[in-house]
Symmetry: C2
């Protein structure tokens, strides 16, 4: 109803989305080389659009390119994860600080609607992550700093793999909702400090749980 047709018009974009999903689902496992021929066949396209999509992922650090040797799925260590979250901390604080004074009533309504979508998503992880993302970037984009939004998007993309782990637990989903409600309340009051703090707490919680999950799975290996 909202967007009747939003299908990727080009194969490279479709492939890009497919690759992201495969990364999140672990179908493309870190450390393994990307075999272009078989992967392209599996996706029903030729290698050309696949390679263009891989170049985008390379820019985000999700895959590593070695000339004449191809692409390898990047292995993200716990350290990398911590690093990304630290960068997010710095940049999201900036985005929120700039955005809050600029927020219109329409923005706030949209944010509440987005928060509602997160609630409605229930336990559908796919819907949950996209709704969550929409909520946060509605806020970040309100800062009207396109380059900042772009950079944050790259950082979020780089850790999408882990975000799924996070949402798997029902208790965390509940917490996310509370956090969102608190954040919106702070935004309504125009309270920058509280908003930044809310986002920080939200993020900190996710980094600790995800890191824990990661080290647990690493211990198993």
């Amino acid at each position: 109803m909202s967007t009747p047709f939003e299908r990727p018009p080009t194969a490279q974009e479709a492939v890009l989305g497919a690759l992201r999903r495969m990364l999140v689902r672990g179908e493309l496992r870190p450390g393994l080389p990307v075999r272009q021929e078989s992967l392209a066949e599996q996706l029903g396209v030729s290698r050309v659009p696949l390679r263009e999509a891989l170049k985008v992922l390379e820019g985000e650090g999700l895959v590593t390119y070695l000339p004449r040797r191809g692409y390898v799925v990047t292995e993200l260590s716990a350290g990398d994860l911590v690093e990304v979250y630290r960068l997010r901390e710095l940049l999201e604080a900036e985005a929120i600080a700039v955005a809050v004074p600029l927020l219109t009533d329409a923005d706030l309504v949209a944010l509440e609607a987005a928060a509602g979508e997160v609630e409605d998503a229930g336990s559908d992880i796919e819907a949950l992550t996209t709704a969550n993302r929409r909520f946060h970037f509605l806020l970040f984009d309100a800062a009207r700093m396109p380059r900042l939004s772009r950079t944050l998007r790259q950082l979020w993309d780089a850790t999408d793999v882990y975000r799924v782990v996070y949402f798997a637990e029902p208790e965390r989903r509940a917490r996310v909702r509370d956090d969102h409600a608190g954040l919106v309340a702070a935004l309504r009051r125009g309270d920058i400090e509280a908003a930044v703090a809310a986002q920080a707490a939200h993020r900190a919680h996710s980094v600790t749980t995800v890191t824990a999950a990661l080290s647990r799975s690493a211990a198993g290996a």
Copy 2:
């Protein structure tokens, strides 16, 4: 003598470098569409490696991609410039704060050598910008935060176009050398605050002069 052969082994990388130079030199002017056929012919390659290089530039925001319509050279406004510098401010401060305690003697020697290269570059703008970049990233990389380095690299790439303007004036080149010397001194003392401040002053000076140059040229149009 240092690197006997560092030529890009693949055409896409060569093209990427060529495109960056063309952007810096203004041969690819903002707002204009990128005609793949003629540009590829001009570079002596086919459109395939060209398109891969363009995807990289798209990730950095230097070109904008419109499906089925191709790539357009992004127009950077003064606002965009300010935004990039603000992001650099946040991220470079972090990089320096983390790097300073980790600096080894070897790092410091390398930094001084790099600073020397900047001096030796004289008025060769090309050599100057690359040496300047090497100097700063030697420091940033010392923080051992690869994702942060990557992000900073993207931000620097995005404004390379303007950096050239900056270095055109001899007085500014002199100032750069002084700034570098001051920065190295602070690093030697392990004085994080002073180092961050030095970098900030360095950057602030460049953003003001470049913005001025930009508005002057905009006034002419």
